[in-house]
Amino acid sequence: MISRKEFLKQAAYLSAGTMLPFSFGRLSDPNIAAPDITILYTNDTHARLDPFPSNAKEFAGLGGIARRASLVKKVRATQKNVLLLDAGDVFQGTPWFDVYGGKVDLKLMTEMKYDAMAVGNHEFDRGTDGFAEAAQKAGFPILASNYSVRNTPMSSFVQRQLIKEFKGFRIGIFGLGIELNGVVNRDLYGNVRYSDAERTARRMVESLRGFHRCDYIICLSHLGYQYTDNRPNDVKLAGSVEGIDLIIGGHTHTFLDEPVIRENPEGKPTIITQMGHSGVRVGRLDLRFSEMNVDHQFRFYTIDGK
């Protein structure tokens, strides 16, 4: 019996051979009722385990991990293949971090069955030892492909990539962290070494697509959405590295109401998305694989108490 993946590869080959104009996406059928994969994601949750207090200058009453968990459970009840991801900066922002150093966050994220998170700059706020202590509570991979953590306390808690397979589709996920020098105190990051984000991304895509045979690539990025200067950022990454399908971003706390799409060097779309901060929003992308193409349906949820 031919696997669905093989079937689609053959179909893709045939379609490519025709050289006829054709289009994808079902404009007449805008809702992906039965997605192959549903991706839920957050970024920069910043220890916001409880909703914002009533005297918060912004977002009073919004957020809260128990309500987020409830939403995730509801989605899982109807969708079989759910990926739950976070783009980093789980640490720092409320007294929960000052008392527990991120342990409670990572423990509850494990209970919620997060599949992976990226390493944000605030993950270094209690040094590499503090990270390692909290990371023992994480029952899911913490990803950073451009940080060398060898000979540091972080070495057994950070990995470069994660591959998930659903219905024969292989999803390659890798993490990118921000340049540490100038952003994180040197005493805190110790012997962790940063490597160029774009160069690393290129190598990760080559390996994930070529060696690991992934069909779809997700970058969990803590680089930031966009800068006016030359620092690596999600928009720049999308335009300069081919083969990334989706960048789930963080760091700049950007509330993107819609995904931003950039043409990558091979002329294909790379989708960029980011959900502000503090778990105020949860992003959702429903993916449906069809011949030569992946349909995406995007939505976001605002976690409020009303």
């Binding site: 200058k57 912004e58 007294p95 995007f298």
Partner: protein
Amino acid sequence: MLTRFFVVLITSVLFAGCTLFRPATVEEEKVPLEYPGPDTEIASLLDAHRSQLNRLMNVEIATVKDTLRFGKPESVLGNLVSDAIRSRAANELGAYVNMGIIGESSFKLFFEPGRLTLGEMYEFMPYKNHLVVLTLEGQRVTELINQVAEIGGAPVSGVRFRIDNENTARGVLVNSEVIDPHKKYRVATSSWAADGGDVFPALWEAEERVDLNISVRDVFVDYFRGKSEIYDITDGRIR
């Protein structure tokens, strides 16, 4: 419980070898979606850790008598925090400090009447910045005050002025005196503002900088503890 969501469908169109793509916003709507309240399992796990949190953080440091907010041109909280860093900097340094300045974007809470707790102070100022004293020439101080005026006011201490219709500072007095362009002034601020964060470029090229080994959050905790009761009083330093 209600959750709103927006739906956007992304489609790719491949045309004779070249790919065109754009988000096709075929549907964008607010859809109410009922879902259960907070997940009980996660909520109880969180609550299991709450007594330790409360023991350390639910500690009263002052009583707030009115609703206190940040705002422009001046505000009760803006005045309090800038006075706090200026007076603490003077104490730590053992020298007169002319000004205090800290942007209000660093602060995440306003105060409601009642107990002010240590936990609230961690949310009030969630960042790990420390106290810095910069030395600026008088002409830089004038630039700084104009940068404050341009944005309609900011938390400052040691200064009085009014903002005219063109958002320029008028009648500027620092410690009740007109600014001497060649005199040197000590300005207390946060490490973040001094490092190039915040919105006051005049702070970024100081002649001298002293980093004090004290977090600005601790400065506020100690300052509010010392006040014990906090009222809604402003003094017209920016008009």
